[in-house]
Symmetry: C2
Subunit: 335 residues, 2 copies
């Protein structure tokens, strides 16, 4: 049986910050990046919680991310912010831009932040949820990363990373509805698990090294992942790449150094579009959304994305984060 410890959020945040600082982050970076790690962990989104903090510390040790980078922020207009993350974690730049981004969206209805030269950003929904919960804004968020692991529609050579897309909106009775999803049909870990258990993969998950579709996990591990949902999902991965790398000037996933190997920085992009629904939809936006929430609630099977994570985050704020004792020891040791 796995030992579980309950760690209060403050202690979790201190540990994350201490680990990042010990591995070379400035206090500002440690606070900003640590917050995203602890938020993911509090939401039960473990893959980008403390487990990912280990990746971050390794990246700092290897010089793949500049722990003391000072983001450069430039305002080409009243509603546009360009952030050069200077090869650091993207969280600090996004945090420094956030108040201006939100104020611009409130004032003008829409605003955009285009961040380039960043390390990969972990939980993407984090950025959408904060804009929805703390600023009552809708948000579209796109990120890319290196290395590329998926081909474009019809292709064989990987040109996209798992290219996540997030969307957030304030939601009646809940903090926010938050879509936060990879553009891949599966994760590498799921394919490794199928290989270990001797199971076939569902169709549409992977290509073998010859570029042919495969359901054999070993062949898939030597080949490439595929986007979810066939050609339409491939187009979503492409749209995310064009938003995140194309519109920011960030490195294309196809040429970006890996987030988890080597000593070069990925230098990728993060795009955030923030929209004030009261400006675009009018003052009765809250009632309008409440109508839709009622329609959805009438169908008991409906899954509202991100709502359970919001509840989990509240529970964690009260009861602390549930974490595997061995992992917690490892995190404390990182500091």
């Amino acid at each position: 049986m796995t030992d579980i410890v309950h760690v209060p959020l403050d202690n979790a945040a201190e540990a994350a910050e201490a680990a990042l600082t010990a591995h070379g982050c400035s206090a500002e970076h440690a606070a900003a990046t640590g917050r995203s790690i602890v938020t993911a962990e509090a939401e039960g989104n473990h893959a980008v919680g403390f487990l990912h903090l280990i990746d971050y510390c390794e990246a700092l040790d290897a010089g793949r991310v500049a722990g003391r980078a000072e983001p450069l922020i430039d305002h080409p207009s009243k509603v546009a912010l360009r952030v050069d993350a200077q090869q650091g974690f993207p969280h600090l730049g996004a945090d420094l831009a956030r108040d201006d981004l939100a104020a611009a969206a409130h004032r003008s209805g829409i605003a955009i932040m285009a961040l380039r030269n960043g390390y990969s950003c972990g939980a993407l929904g984090y950025f959408a949820r904060r804009l929805a919960e703390e600023h009552a804004l809708a948000a579209i968020v796109a990120a890319n990363a290196g290395p590329a692991v998926m081909p474009a529609s019809g292709g064989r050579t990987p040109v996209f990373c798992t290219n996540p897309l997030a969307f957030g909106l304030p939601w009646p009775g809940e903090g926010a509805l938050v879509i936060d999803q990879s553009s891949a049909a599966s994760a590498i870990v799921e394919i490794r698990k199928a290989a270990a258990e001797g199971r076939k993969l569902p169709e549409g998950w992977a290509l073998g090294p010859d570029g042919a579709p495969t359901t054999d996990p070993a062949t898939a591990l030597a080949g490439t992942l595929l986007p979810f949902g066939g050609a339409r999902g491939s187009n979503i991965a492409l749209m995310v790449e064009l938003l995140a790398a194309g519109l920011t000037g960030g490195n294309w996933s196809a040429v970006a150094p890996a987030f988890n190997a080597g000593s070069a920085s990925p230098g990728v992009g993060l795009l955030i579009i923030a929209i004030d629904p009261r400006v675009t939809g009018g003052d009765d936006f809250v009632r309008h959304i409440a109508d839709f929430a009622e329609i959805l609630a009438a169908d008991p099977g409906v899954h509202l994305p991100g709502v359970a994570r919001g509840h989990q985050a509240k529970a964690s704020a009260t009861h602390g984060i549930e974490i595997d004792a061995a992992l917690w020891q490892r995190i404390c040791a990182l500091a």
Copy 2:
């Protein structure tokens, strides 16, 4: 064998306008809506070309769309346009807003048009392509419609229409890359075809009337379509609904009158976000995109969405539109 006629674009446009005018459109609506029909036909996108013009004329006859509606345009800020289509076709309002939208995006980097109370909008890529080809802008475009034909993730009751999403970007050597896709796994016509041919459906296309997944086309026709790509595709359909109806104040698909039956107007939404990549990504945007175009071109299988349609449109401009003779006669008779 089917007889094919070649109709010059000008004649096709005249016929479309004449048909719309004969069925009650003002000259302005006939020109704006006719242009979208003929553009779709010229691109080889027949389902939303002249075939759809027949739907439009029927909707005018039945009073489902106000052919002489005067769109109300309001500027809540320098980068936001709200359009009340007044139960007319959305094309005229979008056309009237387009120059302001494009100018705002060029000036500020991003701008938004939120249209409500519109009829359904046919080819959605049309709006993205024009912004990309004629204004060198990136565009995200979302639309909803009535009736609802797909449930939300985990649900059984239809709450989304096929909810298309479009994305356009100027593309080196081509006018534009244009993603234009339904959020449904299939179209009703494909299910009818499978039923006629006695074929099973792929998994993930439909639910039966009991809410259980089905691969039997007859059961599917009595039930509901499903979004593409499982839960992730359902989230895309949800995002489109929230963008198109939520942020505009347009009717939710779940309560919108049908575009193809009855006498009430759908009153749905169309959202366009226009982005100037030179503002968000810097002056080397053209070179940056050219780098990616080269990466994609190195993999000969890659399908670039919307590029073939752009070529077809050019061919149609030179050689005219290829159209089934019987359909062309029907279109001429509509006028």
